[in-house]
Amino acid sequence: MLPILARFGPITIGTHDFFTMFGLLAGFVLYYHALRRDGLLGGPITLISVAAVVGGAVGARLITSWEVLGDVQSASLPLTYVLTHGPKSIIGGLAGGYLAIVLTKRALGYTLSTGDYYAAAIPLALAIGRVGCFLSELPLGTPTSLPWGMTVSPEAAAAFPRCPGCGGPMHPSMLYEIGFHLGAFTLITTRGPLLPVRGDTLKAYLLAYGVFRFGIEFIRGNEVQWLGLTGPQLVLIPLVAWLVIHFVRQLRSGIYQMPKPIPAIA
C-alpha cells in the first residue's frame, strides 16, 4: 500500500488525490484535443466542462451518502459532513457530471451533442484514477483462492477501520476495473464512435460500465446495504435501467438504419 506518494517539506501528496487529478487532467486533454480537431472548442464548452467538474465532485459525494446518513445523524453531525468526509463514488461522479452537462447545455442553449467526445476521455481518466484507488484503498476485494489473489501486510490493513478479507489473498478488483477501462479506451480510440447516432457511444460505454461494475461489486468487498446488494449496486439499478430504456427506444425507432445519400454521379 502506498497512501502517500511523495512529501516535499510540509507538502504531502496523497496517492489517491494525485492519480485522481492526473486522470482528470489526461481526460480533459483528450477531450479538448478532440474538440479542437473538430473546431468545436470555445467559451460554451469551457463553461460546460467547469460545470461537469463541479457536478461530478458534488455527485461523487452525494450519490452514496445515504450509506452513512445513519452514522452522521447518530453522531449529531450536520449533513454537510457527507460532503466533506463522506464516501466518494465514481458512479456519483459520472451521474453528477452528466446531469451538470445537460443542465448547462440547456441553460446556455447549446444544442450540439458532445457526448462522444467524452467517450474515450472518461475511460482513460477512470483507468488512471483507479491506479490511485488500487495503491491506497482497502479492501482490494473479497477473499479468493485464485492464483492472482493479492495480500496486504497487517500494518496496512490496520490503517483501515473495515477490511474483511485482509487476512488472506483478495481479488484485485481495482485492477479488473482498470482492465475494463483500458479495453474500452482502446476500442473507442481505434474504432471511433461505435454507434452512428451522436452521443450513443458514450451511453453505450456507460451502460457497459454499469453492468460490469454491478458484477464487480460482488467481489469488491463493499458493505452489503439491502437485499444482498451494495450501495453502488443499488444506485446502478435505476441508472442502468434508464440507459437500457434509451437503447430499446433507439432500436425501436429504427434510428440506427441511417438514410442513404443520393449516389454520386459517375
Binding site: D38, P44, L79, L83, T84, G109, P193, R198, P261
Partner: protein
C-alpha cells in the same frame, strides 16, 4: 462542390456522427476529399451557431457556479464549526439551485425577446453580480435560520 453532399450532411449532422455520415457518402461513391471539406465547413458553422450570443447567460452561469461552490464551502465550514443542524445543506442546495437556475432560464427567455443590447446589456451584466451573490448569501442565511428553527 456537389450540393447533394452538403444537403445530406446538413440533414444528418444533428443526429448522426461525422464518421457515420462520411462513411455513407463515400460508400455512395462521393469524393472523400469533397466530403471532408464539407464536413469541416458545416461543423464550423454549427459550432459558431450554437449557444447564446449575448454573453449575459454565460455570465450568469459563471456567477451561478462560483456562488454555488462558495455557498457550499461556507455551509460546510459553518457546519464543521458546529453551528448548524442537518437540514441546512439540503435547504441551501434546493434554494440556491432552484432559484439560480430559474434566473438563468428567465434570462434566456427575456434577453432575446426584449432585445437587451449595448448599455442595457452592460447594466444587466453588472446587476447580475449582486443578484447572484445576494442569492447565495440569502439562501445561506435562510438555510441556517430554518435549519436552526
Amino acid at each position: 462542390m456537389d450540393p447533394n453532399i452538403r444537403d445530406y450532411i446538413q440533414s444528418m449532422s444533428g443526429r448522426y456522427t461525422p464518421e457515420a455520415i462520411r462513411a455513407n457518402l463515400i460508400a455512395a461513391g462521393h469524393d472523400p476529399a469533397a466530403v471532408d471539406a464539407e464536413l469541416a465547413a458545416i461543423a464550423a458553422e454549427r459550432a459558431t451557431g450554437s449557444g447564446n450570443k449575448n454573453g449575459l447567460v454565460s455570465e450568469a452561469w459563471i456567477l451561478f457556479i462560483v456562488g454555488g461552490v462558495a455557498g457550499l464551502a461556507g455551509v460546510a465550514l459553518a457546519a464543521s464549526a458546529g453551528s448548524s443542524s442537518g437540514a441546512v445543506f439540503p435547504i441551501f442546495a434546493a434554494g440556491y439551485l432552484g432559484i439560480g437556475y430559474g434566473i438563468i432560464l428567465l434570462l434566456r427567455w427575456v434577453v432575446p425577446r426584449f432585445r437587451i443590447k449595448g448599455l442595457g446589456a452592460a447594466l444587466v451584466g453588472l446587476a447580475l453580480i449582486p443578484v447572484f451573490w445576494g442569492l447565495m448569501l440569502g439562501t445561506c442565511v435562510a438555510a441556517f435560520s430554518i435549519g436552526r428553527g
